[in-house]
Symmetry: C2
Subunit: 339 residues, 2 copies
Amino acid sequence: MPPARPRLSDVAALAGVSQKTVSNVINDYPHVTERTRLKVEAALRELNYRVNIPARSLASGRTGFIALAVPSLDNPYFSELAVHVMAAAAAYRWTVLIEQTGGSPDAETLVVDGAMPYLVDGIVLHLRSLTPADLRNRSDSTPLVLIGEKTPHHIADYVAGDSVQAAYDLTTHLLRTGRTRVAVIGIERDTRFATSTLRFEGYRRALADAGIDVRDDYVVPVERFQRENGAIAMGSLLALPEPPDAVLCFNDLLALGALSHLNTVGVAVPRDVALAGFDDIDESAYSSPPLTTIAWDTKAIAERAVALLAERLSGDSDSPPREISVDYTVVQRQSTTLS
Amino acid sequence: MPPARPRLSDVAALAGVSQKTVSNVINDYPHVTERTRLKVEAALRELNYRVNIPARSLASGRTGFIALAVPSLDNPYFSELAVHVMAAAAAYRWTVLIEQTGGSPDAETLVVDGAMPYLVDGIVLHLRSLTPADLRNRSDSTPLVLIGEKTPHHIADYVAGDSVQAAYDLTTHLLRTGRTRVAVIGIERDTRFATSTLRFEGYRRALADAGIDVRDDYVVPVERFQRENGAIAMGSLLALPEPPDAVLCFNDLLALGALSHLNTVGVAVPRDVALAGFDDIDESAYSSPPLTTIAWDTKAIAERAVALLAERLSGDSDSPPREISVDYTVVQRQSTTLS
DNA sequence: GCGCGCATTTCCTGCGCTGTAGATCGAGCG
DNA sequence: CGCTCGATCTACAGCGCAGGAAATGCGCGC
């Protein structure tokens, strides 16, 4: 039977001070004399004391946790994002709880309503399906920062890149390489899903500016944004009487699935078909050929989101929602250009 | 100002019962009459009550959290594993806290000693650098389940596949396809790192059984198990006077990096060089060509590990450490065979 | 109609910590 | 040398919940 976990009072007794003084030492309260602090620290070491976090949380009202809710952690974009968020949160001594929503409205509602089976000081949510209207009447007041897509209405703080502009730039890049038959993979039927709606809008505008009409048979819907769906969608595009000579995929996984299919059936990329994606996951630099894609500044997204939470938690709960725009770059690789 | 979070006593007052009865309803205590339960549930809904988890933890001594400590979450193998662990934990109503160790002995020691900044009911640790000796005197009694590599000594429960046998099988597969100059990428200089040690042992045995000597110039060390390191290592192998005709990489990321390099410089896979990896991450089925690899039963690893924790938590803290072996399959894809 | 025994509910304590208020100490000053 | 004031420390309450003992209610048998 190992000795029970020591409590503050055990340390206090050993150090010959009050329990609160030990607490003060642990929490870096400034008005503690050097002498007292050394005494207490010796006792802490001797007993191998560790704070009981639930007790601290109960007494202080702060948990030290923030939630990061993303559609799915096995999508590399989100696991890479999670790593950045954890790093940013560490600067505030926060522990990150990762929650998967599957992108479903129900799960996202649970998150914004604080119905997760734990208590957190703040929430970073990568929104997928909830609309601003859905957020207006949330039944919880935990500070919330949204990431994902730039949305027109302003209900909560958010940090996002401009998908419309990014899609516009990427489509324009494809057109500039001489492509004329540009297809898209990644339409979702539910228009609440902002990602595909916004990226399609950028695609549409770029075609319009080039005087090209959107062809229905070049607009391929998918169930999920996974490699498998990209491969299947690519297969259907290749089966068209007049296949596209470029394909804009709404994320890298779709593009990598499409690429795999092209390589399998022997269609040369980029000679026969150019291919581009979004998100610049690590994998995209190592595909064959490497993938042209939109690289969001994911580190900045994570840091700004966490910083926004920190501001709200330090008392600023009234000021209007802030919106922070983050940069992106069009990373040109060999899936669109051979230069 | 939103109404303060309701407490049990608020619900109790509204329902006209005692606070403990409300607690009983929430916790599915069996001896509650239907009538009382309905009354309480109505009050719970009306007030939108949510349990205060820190308070529950303090009172009950259980936190409802388990920690999953892995080297790095941006390695797809670990993020895919995390998804399985979260699913398995959900069956026990546990929330998973993901911790990154970077594989360093210091960070792993902090994990096993319970020095993380939160309290958990149990720990699942994917061990990378700590040896059994390091684990023997841990200063914490939180139930611990190790995953990763089958180790010879028995300090804690663990769930793992047999890397020696897997490497043996995979090397044998390469030899059977007619390869004779089989190199390995992924040696780590520190022999405490079991993964490379064990996989190298399997490789060595397979060569020995085929009557082939290990060539020093075919054994390539790496700093990290990332794509980048695989690409660099492949470059050095190609620069040899007599390059290998097959390469066994100690994980898929190394193999995918190596593959990228081969595709870039125009070496045909598998014609000129066959390539195999470990872990069967999602990506490996979509590379060009798709990668032959070892597929561990990751879902089983997650489920068994969580189940072991559950047993320990339900009172069995004395019985000797249990070791559970999980299956793997050699997934043959086009990076080693054209059939 | 009364009592017994079990099912159901209540009462009350304490989990370990932090916030607040107030006690104590010590230095500087008149 | 006594007093004031700020720096430092202590005492104590209470955060919201679950456990256990005790109280109550209810059905059933005689």
